[in-house]
């Protein structure tokens, strides 16, 4: 069921940090950078999609129209998407659908946020019908609580060690050293991780990603439009990155893995559990759409909300078998220079999470990787890249780009 491709004409980002300014500023900065990268005037954009900011787990500020107004109203249609960590991919998918249906030639997608300090927490007030509120009230279960329970499973089932988890941080910190968009650009040693305080056993502070401000944007178009545009610009010989798949699937009942913000899994006492877990199904849908498999992937950007979670993704995206992720890491396969570098950008370890921007930032990074312009962090000769993330309320996404 391979789907027609669309072209990535331009990408742009605002550096991640804790700037404390309005999210619109980051989004506009990223959008202008993407338009400049594409060599497209804003007035030529036929559709704009925004990824809503996140406030307390729920959609915050309307994004699409806010960015359209800030860039100067041009009368084009707009949409905004909210899907927690997958918001950016959902906005990107909306733009792709417009293009593939022939309703527009070229579209702009933007995600940006300003994130409050500390734990992501629920909305205020008595909210007895809101599972996200109740998990804090009844349990004190923060997001790291869930990351930690998944990490504990790796230790118990596969013999992973805290040292393995630390090694993910060490790798990603090194990858991000020269990334101008990364918030943290500093070597981290295993001893730094080991001496950071435990937040949620077995995870320590440096195992868990921070929350950040940031913005990312993309200009995408039909393949025909891209060819005409590149020819007109005299850049037809430049590598053209394409989007081969966008997966934004929901879980299949019964979902037997405990997920944020739930009190329980679905029960498998009635209907049989699906063959693939939710996270596996996110990648599988992307592979199917692209007509590609894990063996084709050269580089990946995966959601390392925690160090241990990056290891889960190796398995869930099919880079290795269940329980083999620690070996893949220890062998250096996922380090730059290895056969399948993961998080060459430095990942969330170096960025911190800016929710609506993050899924787009992953694709921006892979675009630079496939163009061969990821200075100081290049996965040599990469032709196929995959992203993956998962967040609150049954959201997740995976994007495959090729050249």
């Amino acid at each position: 069921m391979a789907v027609d491709q669309v072209a990535v004409l331009g990408v742009g980002m605002h550096p991640w940090g804790k700037w404390g300014r309005n999210f619109v500023e980051y989004g506009v900065h990223a959008a202008r950078a993407a338009l400049a990268d594409a060599g497209i005037d804003w007035r030529d954009i036929g559709f704009v999609a925004g990824a809503d900011t996140m406030r307390n787990g729920y959609p915050g500020y309307v994004a699409g129209a806010t960015f359209a107004q800030a860039l100067g109203w041009t009368g084009i249609p707009v949409t905004s998407a909210y899907g927690a960590c997958a918001s950016g991919a959902m906005a990107l998918d909306a733009a792709r659908q417009r293009i593939l249906s022939g309703m527009c030639d070229v579209a702009l997608v933007v995600g940006a946020d300003t994130t409050p300090k500390g734990f992501l927490k629920p909305n205020a007030g008595e909210r007895n019908d809101d599972p996200d509120w109740l998990r804090f009230r009844l349990l004190g279960a923060t997001n790291p609580s869930y990351f930690a329970m998944w990490a504990r499973r790796r230790i118990d089932l596969y013999g992973a060690t805290p040292e393995d988890f630390a090694q993910v941080k060490v790798k990603n910190a090194r990858h991000g050293l020269s990334n101008p968009y990364a918030r943290y650009r500093k070597e981290v040693g295993p001893e730094d991780v080991a001496s950071s305080p435990v937040v949620a056993s077995p995870l320590r502070l440096l195992d868990i990603c921070a929350t950040s401000d940031g913005g990312a944007a993309m200009v995408i178009s039909s393949m025909d439009y891209a060819r005409r545009h590149l020819a007109a610009n005299g850049t037809a010989s430049d590598p053209l990155v394409r989007i081969a798949a966008i997966s934004t699937v929901t879980p299949t009942f019964p979902n037997t893995v405990l997920e944020l913000p739930n009190f329980s899994t679905d029960s498998a006492a009635g209907l049989p559990a699906p063959d693939l877990t939710f996270k596996q199904s996110i990648g599988a849908a992307a592979y199917e759409q692209a007509g590609l498999g894990p063996e084709d992937v050269d580089v990946a950007e995966v959601y390392d909300l925690s160090t241990a979670l990056e290891l889960d993704w190796y398995e869930d995206l099919g880079f290795c078998g269940q329980g083999e992720a620690e070996k893949l890491l220890r062998d250096g396969a996922t380090t730059l220079g290895g056969r399948l570098p993961v998080n060459p950008s430095g990942g969330l370890a170096c960025f911190g999470e800016a929710v609506p921007a993050q899924a787009l930032a992953q694709v921006c990074e892979l675009t630079w990787q496939l163009r061969g312009t990821a200075e100081g962090r290049q996965a040599e000769g990469a032709r196929v890249g995959i992203t993956a993330n998962q967040g609150l309320f049954g959201h997740g996404s995976s994007v495959i780009v090729t050249r």
């Binding site: 500390g118 734990f119 927490k121 629920p122 205020a124 008595e126 909210r127 007895n128 599972p131 509120w133 109740l134 998990r135 804090f136 009230r137 009844l138 349990l139 004190g140 279960a141 923060t142 609580s145 930690a148 329970m149 998944w150 504990r152 499973r153 118990d156 089932l157 305080p197 435990v198 937040v199 949620a200 056993s201 077995p202 995870l203 009942f253 019964p254 037997t256 405990l258 739930n262 009190f263 329980s264 899994t265 679905d266 029960s267 498998a268 006492a269 009635g270 209907l271």
Partner: protein, 164 residues
């Protein structure tokens, strides 16, 4: 007579017989049951109890019957909160003492249910696969009431070698 004991959430668990004149023991009080619903079409359980319709695809018209869930299971995973969680969490102690969380797999229901672990248990006392049981315990108190909730605790003297 102390303050009234109030379930922190309505309709999610039963209240065991309690001695209103004595504080709840640190290890909690057995006899509490989680209230779930069961889809009579598919046999699927729901917790928190699903009241509107069965979420098992293809069984939208099946009746939901209220059931008490198993009060024992095997530890699927666990962690603790070394830093005080943000509101609406209310610390039971001042200063805050780290709280453990347990995700326990119920055999009959084939589902994992999360809960706090009773006070005095640390992650060093826990191991994936060990047998756990449900108790009622104090979550926190304010001027008006003592709020109670279900918690998990290791079964004393049980065989803790089982893997999940």
């Amino acid at each position: 007579m102390g303050k009234p004991r109030v379930p922190v959430v309505e309709g999610w668990f039963t209240m065991p017989p309690l001695d209103d004149t004595a504080p709840i023991d640190e290890r909690g009080v057995p006899g509490v049951k989680l209230i779930g619903t069961r889809c009579t079409g598919s046999g699927t359980y729901f917790f928190p109890p699903e009241r509107v319709m069965s979420r098992a695809p293809g069984h939208a018209d099946a009746e939901l019957e209220e059931v008490e869930l198993s009060d024992r299971g095997r530890l699927w995973s666990y962690t603790d909160a070394q830093y005080q969680p943000p509101e609406p969490f209310v610390a039971a102690t001042d200063p805050y003492e780290p709280v453990c969380l347990a995700a326990v797999e119920l055999e009959r229901e084939r589902m994992v249910v999360l809960g706090q672990v009773v006070r005095g248990v640390t992650v060093d006392d826990l191991q994936v696969g060990m047998e756990m049981e449900l108790v009622l315990d104090t979550l926190n108190e304010d001027e008006e009431a003592e709020y109670v909730v279900w918690k998990w605790r290791p079964v004393e003297g049980a065989d803790h070698e089982g893997a999940s």
